[in-house]
């Protein structure tokens, strides 16, 4: 039976999102997890210029053999683009792991230290200074304060000094729910953005809040785009 796209994705997501046996955050019977960010069926992507991405590639331009972490899950375009530049790519579907650990829209308390520790082991268990760059995309918006601080701290640890992170944050602080996207790299300065749905952000930031959040990093640079998506380049 051919199901409509969104329904198919929900069903797919509930299957793909099941964690390993006995892990915390396991979905109970009938509880559907959020679909994978790369779920097929919603391919209506639009192209948008990205100064943040351009800045990110300016940083890694002329070098090869760097180690890049992509937290948006594996997509063909990103894998091809990064590896064609001669870099090694690590891929994590951060949102899916978040859903597995805490449920959709934070069903489970995101400030529980045990779960935070479990989540970090699942998603960001890498040696110190392992990465030269991290494509964070928009995933940090969905983290409650305690988890966010732990994640940023871990990111700061696993990125080598002077390494670069690219993160996106919505700049409209009146939003109840923000669209979440799949970001596919088209060029060094342009992205194909496919909206996958709406999701309630755990918190929204202004520039000051972001500077404070990444206070331990060397620098934070903002690029405000027309669609009220703030692109942020963080140098570790």
């Amino acid at each position: 039976m051919l199901l409509p796209g969104p329904l198919r994705n929900i069903i797919r997501g509930s299957r793909a999102g099941q964690p390993a046996n006995g892990q915390p955050g396991s979905a109970g019977p009938g509880q559907q997890l959020f679909p994978s960010r790369n779920a097929a069926g919603q391919e209506s992507g639009t192209s948008r210029p990205s100064r943040g991405l351009e800045e990110f590639f300016n940083y890694i331009r002329g070098q090869s053999g760097l180690t890049i972490l992509d937290l948006g899950g594996a997509t063909q375009q990103n894998v091809t683009f990064i590896t064609n530049l001669g870099h090694r790519l690590y891929s994590e579907d951060f949102l899916q792991l978040l859903n597995e650990a805490f449920g959709v829209d934070g069903i489970v308390d995101q400030s529980n230290p045990g779960r935070i520790d479990y989540f970090l082991r699942q998603a960001l268990d890498y040696p110190e200074h392992h990465f030269d760059g991290v494509l964070v995309w928009d995933v940090l918006e969905y983290l409650a304060p305690a988890l966010l601080v732990a994640v940023v701290e871990r990111l700061h640890k696993i990125v080598r000094p002077k390494g670069c992170l690219l993160a996106f944050f919505h700049s409209d602080d009146k939003l109840e729910a923000v669209p979440f996207y799949t970001f596919r790299i088209q060029e060094v300065n342009s992205l194909q953005v496919a909206q996958q749905g709406l999701r309630k952000p755990a918190q929204l930031f202004n520039n000051r809040g972001l500077e404070k959040l990444f206070g331990q990093c060397e620098s934070v640079k903002f690029f405000l785009s027309r669609d009220r998506l703030r692109e942020v380049i963080i140098k570790a």
């Binding site: 797919r12 994978s36 391919e43 594996a74 997509t75 063909q76 090694r88 790519l89 891929s91 899916q96």
Partner: protein, 198 residues
Amino acid sequence: MWNKRREEEPPKPYTPQTVAPSGPAAPAPVAPSSVEVKKEATPVSSTPVGKFDSENRGNAASIGKAVKVVGQIFSKEDLYVDGTVEGTVEALEHRLIVGPHGTMQAAIKAREVTALGNIQGNVDAAERIEIRKDAKLVGDIRTARIIIEDGAYFKGSIDIIKPEPKPAPKPQAPAAAPAQSSAPANTAPVAAGPEVKR
């Protein structure tokens, strides 16, 4: 007359076409044993060949979905795994297909890997790897070319390696003198099919 029912033919019992064993005793089923088990051109399968039409697997040897193998598999032909494999799989010059029901907790080395099921372990695919929709791969990949379909789940690293240029064919020696083999004398004969070691 109209209500006369035709007598239904009794169902024929399933008689799989098997090759009569050449030896005096029939081959024993695969069982845990410390003795090395070699299978020559005999697919390890619990399902009749031809049921997996979703993937064109040609004449690949197959491990059916009700089969679990723990140990090492060395294959000299294409291999289709729809069951469970724990250990290592080597099909250096051939293609490995992990079917939709396949679950592999194994280090994999093959010329080409196509994943439709679940793989947990590092994959070294000399030519290419395809991770299809609904497949799940957790592990590090080394390959010359990677194809990831939307909907696939991948966690790990990707190293793109340049394919090694194939050596130019050497001119054939004019004399028919047998070449001195540098291999040790006790080298085991190469099996034609997948070889299962425990």
